[in-house]
Amino acid sequence: MKYMLLMQFSQENADFPGLDQWKPEEIQAHVRFMQRTNADLAAAGELVDAQGLAMPETARIVRSHGGGAPVVTEGPFPESKEWVAGWWIVDCDTERRAIEIAAAVSAAPGPGGRPLDMPIEVRQIMAAPPAEL
């Protein structure tokens, strides 16, 4: 079964400063952790895809507009308090395993080496209908 692990960042609920405010060794530890996590997932045959998104500064929101020209809103969005920072897609046997991976990712180290405890949304990816017997 495939699951998407969404890292949804919420400005209000994060009790830590942004990465660019960390100490050099804290940044390095965080990056090493993420690289090792991805390498482990790949080695276990569970990693389908993992992507980080550019920051919302460069984002656009596009909406069609009654059949006329679409409305394009440019970032940054001062009103937006939440954004998707990135995701993993994993292919694993059980939901329990997906939750385990999400928990590991959530514990990525932050300032002072403490776990960030970022909320990770675990969503099952819809699949083809079952074979008819």
Binding site: K23, V31, Q51
Partner: protein, 443 residues
């Protein structure tokens, strides 16, 4: 995933464009020939390592691919009876191995002709790159897809649409005439340069299963240089690739982080590649006319020749950027020139050049990154930190984001070192925006 012995792979990649060329000329259908050769290559990859390569590999490929074309034509025939396209293109000699008459002269030209076709201006760069890697480079669709991290079906579609576009444009399978030659060769070199850059930029950190695009670009450019040994820009591009690639091993640190030129361990540079690049550019420059690739290669050579960052001949680099700015319109040159200016005349002079940046650079992360660097050189750490952070938030490259964040963090840490309380993550003030490190991508 098994891969054949390198020698078989190398041989196939060398022969691929020649076989596409022969069949395209014979049947007059580039798209079909290209598909048939791709299938013949896959047959060869599975059969040759097990059964041994045939005595005449080129003849084998022509025969097998030719048979595929015939089969394809036949099934079309069955499907929609006797269309005029079909009848004429069934070859009489389809079961015969082509004689030795298809000599080397023809095949050498074919590779070049094919390259001109695959880099045709009617194609978008992404399409031209994919088609070139497959038709001229002899890579499989799967390999190209993995190199660009897109699904194989998507890459297959991109390639087949590119071929349809070429067909629709009516571009013939022949060398461009003298009048078109310079522009068409420019297009070819640009595509090769983009392939190289894709590989080089993506080479920071351990990318899983990434075909080495930069090496492939060098191989193709080497082939073009062998065919056009007297063209200065071809030599310049090959030299530029070699001189840049030579620094590759030193460009990534133990944790996959980017290491900027000034901090690289020069002992890890590839001395042989540097020597070859310098020899190429030294021979090409006096011949003239001088083009942008030659000037960029000359700049790379000056960097590569310096025993340490401190010994870099910046006045010469600055002069070369002056030449480059006159013959090329790339706004990124403005940025590099500002850095060279700062190294020769001081950071204030460099920053002055960027006070009024060209519109294309406005908001571009590189502008902030360069400005941050120059502020840092000038000792204005506060401005440097702010610009590094803006650059980090605007880049679309994760290794680059880490690198820029790290530079900001290091400056902030030195700023704090005076007070040295050891608390917090430095410069906690002015945290106008929080953000995690979406470090989810395997770099």
């Amino acid at each position: 995933m098994t891969s054949p012995a390198p020698s078989v792979e190398d041989l196939l990649r060398k022969l691929a464009p020649q076989v596409v060329g022969v069949l395209t000329r014979r049947y007059g259908d580039f798209a079909a020939a290209e598909d048939a050769v791709q299938e013949a290559l896959l047959d060869a990859v599975t059969q040759w390592p097990a059964e041994g390569a045939p005595r005449n590999p080129r003849g084998w490929l022509i025969q097998v691919a030719g048979r595929r074309m015939t089969e394809q034509v036949r099934s079309e025939q069955a499907r929609r009876r006797r269309e005029e396209l079909v009848a004429g293109s069934v070859p009489e000699d389809r079961r015969c191995v082509p004689g030795a008459d298809a000599g080397d002269e023809g095949s050498r030209d074919d590779t070049l002709t094919l390259l001109f076709l695959c880099c045709h201006p009617v194609l978008s760069p992404a399409s031209a790159i994919a088609l070139t890697l497959r038709s001229v480079g002899g890579l499989t669709t799967g390999e190209i897809a993995r190199a660009f991290l897109v699904p194989e079906a998507t890459m297959g579609q991109r390639i087949s649409r590119a071929k349809q576009r070429i067909k629709a444009s009516g571009a013939p399978f022949r060398m461009p005439g003298a009048a078109q030659w310079p522009a068409r060769l420019d297009a070819v070199l640009h595509v090769l340069y983009l392939i190289f850059n894709e590989g080089y930029a993506g080479s920071a950190g351990p990318e899983l299963r990434r075909v080495e695009l930069s090496r492939e670009a060098i191989r193709l450019t080497r082939a073009v240089h062998a065919l056009l040994p007297h063209d200065g820009e071809v030599a310049g591009l090959l030299a530029l690739m070699l001189l840049t690639e030579a620094r590759g091993p030193a460009r990534t640190g133990p944790d996959g982080e980017l290491v900027p030129l000034a901090q690289q361990d020069r002992g890890r540079w590839d001395a042989a590649a540097i020597a070859e690049g310098i020899a190429l550019i030294t021979a090409a420059l006096p011949r003239g006319p001088v083009g942008p690739y030659q000037v960029q290669a000359a700049i790379a050579a000056v960097h590569d020749e310096a025993a340490s960052a401190a010994e870099t001949d910046w006045p010469q680099i600055l002069a070369l950027y002056g030449v480059l700015a006159r013959i090329s319109e790339n706004p990124l040159i403005t940025l590099n020139r500002a850095v060279a200016t700062a190294m020769v005349h001081g950071p204030a002079a460099g920053l002055a050049l960027l006070a009024d940046p060209p519109p294309m650079l406005a908001g571009h992360y590189r502008l902030y990154a360069v400005r941050a660097h120059l502020h840092e050189l000038a000792g204005d750490h506060e401005a440097a930190i702010a610009d590094y952070r803006t650059a980090a938030r605007r880049t679309a490259s994760l290794p680059e984001r880490h690198h820029l964040s790290l530079r900001a963090a290091r400056l902030a840490a030195t700023a704090d070192a005076g007070a040295e309380a050891g608390t917090g993550a430095g410069a906690d003030t002015g945290a106008e925006r929080k953000g995690p490190c979406a470090s989810s991508r395997p770099e």
